[in-house]
């Protein structure tokens, strides 16, 4: 077992890191200050990245994407984690794998335009009354003629102000509970779709998080994504790869970048006549961060390799979600400590990283929800979950 990167993986990672450092990092402070990324700047980034084949690298080549394996995509996502959410979205695309459920005319209508970057997509599952308990949503779609009628509301929908269409979860069979939920492709310009307030957040400045209202929205038959009743299953399964990349891998990348800065500070900052890195209490924070980041990355690669091998990776993805986001939280917290007052000051980006890090433990299923899922799986399957000899 050799975990070193191949030549092409190294080149890809080096190019992405260079793109991020040269083109994206210089924009971060402006976005933070202005709360938005200017549309013409966003357009320019998109065009540059697209020309290099860096947009929608997760989508298979037959649909116009980069066709990366899951492992390679996680290496890319880790690099994405070194910049901010909005800059990643515009430069590299958040083209959700659930769109691969598109068939027939859906491919030309939603999947390919999203992969080309002509149409942007958001995922709309959470409702004010249904967060962790995603099966308790009230948004519903009822059969009407050859199509559906959608009613209900969502909130906290990332990038909703910019998006051209939404993947919306809705109850289609109220008697079937969690198995009665389906996913729909809903264009924002449909009659009855209202984009509500941009809900202000602690971090992730520049990305909108909106309320969505559906008032008797008529949907044609093509709007049902995948099979009816499988919506929650897709959220665990195809959206699982999104969770692995957009939360797990990006958390690892962010933690790595933050630790780089903390190590630099521990080397340079002198107090009591020596570098603060010579104090054991500072060393402990650094060593713990190094260990935790390496462990999180290996768990991430393990889950990614399992997906590439066609194995059921759902429990592994949950482990990565918990471990990587909690690691990021601890590393960001220690970085503030190592920087002292400068860590809390707005003159340095450490406080911004700290704020941005916080949501990783919350969105895409909280730490508690995934932890409970892991425990349930372990109680059911035993060693298969934690012993390679038992694993299938």
């Amino acid at each position: 077992m050799d975990f070193s990167l191949s030549e092409d993986q190294r080149t890809l990672v080096a190019m992405l890191r260079r793109f991020i450092e040269e083109k994206l990092a210089p924009l971060e402070e402006t976005v933070e200050r202005e709360g938005r990324l200017a549309p013409e700047v966003a357009r320019d980034l998109f065009e540059q990245s697209k020309a290099l084949g860096f947009y929608a690298m997760n989508i298979p080549e037959e649909f116009g994407g980069g066709g990366l394996s899951t492992v390679d995509m996680m290496l890319a996502e880790e690099q994405f984690g070194r910049t901010t959410d909005i800059l990643i979205r515009r430069s590299f695309g958040n083209v959700y794998e659930v769109l691969l459920k598109c068939v027939g005319p859906q491919v030309e209508r939603w999947l390919k335009p999203a992969t080309r970057g002509e149409r942007t997509c958001s995922i709309a599952i959470t409702e004010p009354e249904a967060g962790s308990d995603a099966a308790s949503i009230r948004t519903a779609a009822t059969r009407a003629g050859g199509g559906w009628v959608l009613d209900g509301k969502k909130h906290f929908i990332s990038d909703g102000l910019f998006s051209d269409f939404f993947v919306v979860s809705a109850v289609t069979d109220p008697s079937a509970g969690g198995r009665g939920i389906s996913l729909f492709l809903v264009d924002r310009d449909r009659k009855g779709v209202t984009i509500g307030r941009d809900q202000p957040m602690m971090g992730l400045r520049g990305t909108s998080h909106v309320e969505l209202f559906f008032d008797r929205v008529e949907l044609d038959d093509q709007c049902l994504l995948g099979e009816p009743g499988r919506g929650l299953g897709y959220a665990l399964d195809t959206l699982g790869r999104v969770r692995l990349g957009q939360v797990g891998a990006r958390a690892v990348g962010k933690a790595t970048k933050i630790l780089d800065l903390a190590v630099g500070q521990a080397r340079e900052r002198r107090q009591f006549g020596k570098a603060i890195g010579e104090f054991q209490l500072i060393q402990k924070m650094i060593a713990d961060s190094v260990i935790e980041i390496n462990a999180a990355r290996l768990l991430l690669w393990n889950a990614a390799a399992a997906i590439d091998a066609g194995r059921d990776a759902r429990a592994l993805i949950a482990m990565v979600k918990v471990n990587a986001s909690e690691t990021l939280g601890r590393v960001a917290d220690r970085a503030v400590q190592i920087f002292g007052g400068m860590g809390f000051s707005r003159d340095l980006p450490i406080e911004r990283y700290y704020r941005d890090a916080r949501v990783y433990r919350i969105f895409d299923g909280t730490t508690e929800i995934h932890t409970a899922g892991i425990a349930r799986a372990a109680l059911k399957s035993g060693g298969a979950l934690y012993d390679p000899v038992e694993a299938v």
Partner: protein, 248 residues
């Protein structure tokens, strides 16, 4: 016309190098390596010449350990056509590299060899000039602009106090300075294509070249630490101190 571009694997320019405690050299353990930045500029220039229809093929050569194949692969991902790795473990001096390159040039018959003006590890700034001498070819060093026109090339050179443009008869040697161009990003499709591009492996013995070092490194040391300065209250005091130090 073929263009040959030699590329060297060096310590990444971001790395703060440390001298080994026994002074025998630089500590390269756990240190990130990358293509010499001036060689990246050379690769970029060759690719631009090819894209402008002035060259038909760009061939990369690296003299170094097995891992130097990675450096070649980086250049192939930028768009070069193929690579040659001349495998040598241990240090090779500029003269050794120049002799290897002379043998490669004899086999490949390029119209132009573009090198970096120097490698950022030892900063020798010798290989291009030595190669030109060994081949008896004209050379345009520290190039900030290269215009190929038929059988000759106009090379603008960065010299003290300005620019100088010289005309070289091809085949010729050019060494790239910082302002020649800005190297491109390797695109995802090119990174994937690079995997399939050939890298031929050779040894100096295959080429009949002896690369044994001719120089002996006696000691490597850290640059002296800067000492704290002194403040002076007046110009008179400053002049006094400078006289005291014997500098004026």
């Amino acid at each position: 016309m073929k263009i040959v571009v030699p590329v060297k694997r060096v310590v990444d320019f971001n790395v703060k190098v440390r001298v080994k405690p026994d002074g025998s050299g630089i500590d390269l353990q756990n240190v990130k390596m990358a293509m010499n930045p001036f060689d990246e500029i050379a690769v970029e220039e060759a690719l631009r010449q090819k894209e402008a229809g002035k060259a038909s093929e760009v061939v990369l050569v690296s003299v170094g350990p097995a891992q130097a194949a990675e450096t070649i692969r980086t250049g192939l991902a930028m768009g070069a056509d193929r690579g040659i790795l001349v495998k040598v473990d241990g240090p090779v001096e500029p003269l050794g590299v120049a002799k290897v390159l002379k043998a490669i040039v004899a086999a490949e018959q390029p119209g132009l060899v573009i090198l970096g003006k120097q490698a950022i590890d030892d900063d020798s700034n010798q290989t291009g000039q030595m190669l030109a001498a060994l081949l008896g070819w004209p050379q345009g060093t520290f190039a900030s602009k290269v215009v190929i026109d038929g059988a000759s090339a106009a090379v603008t050179r960065e010299v003290d106090g300005g620019h100088e443009t010289i005309a070289l008869k091809l085949p010729a040697i050019v060494t790239a300075d910082l302002r020649l161009n800005e190297p491109r990003y390797a695109s995802l499709p090119n990174i994937m294509k690079a995997k399939k591009k050939p890298i031929e492996e050779k040894t100096p013995a295959d080429l009949g070249v002896d690369v044994a070092p001719r120089l002996k490194v006696i000691k490597t040391g850290e640059p002296p630490a800067r000492r704290a300065g002194a403040k002076v209250a007046s110009v008179a005091e400053l002049v006094g101190k400078l006289k005291e130090a014997g500098v004026i």
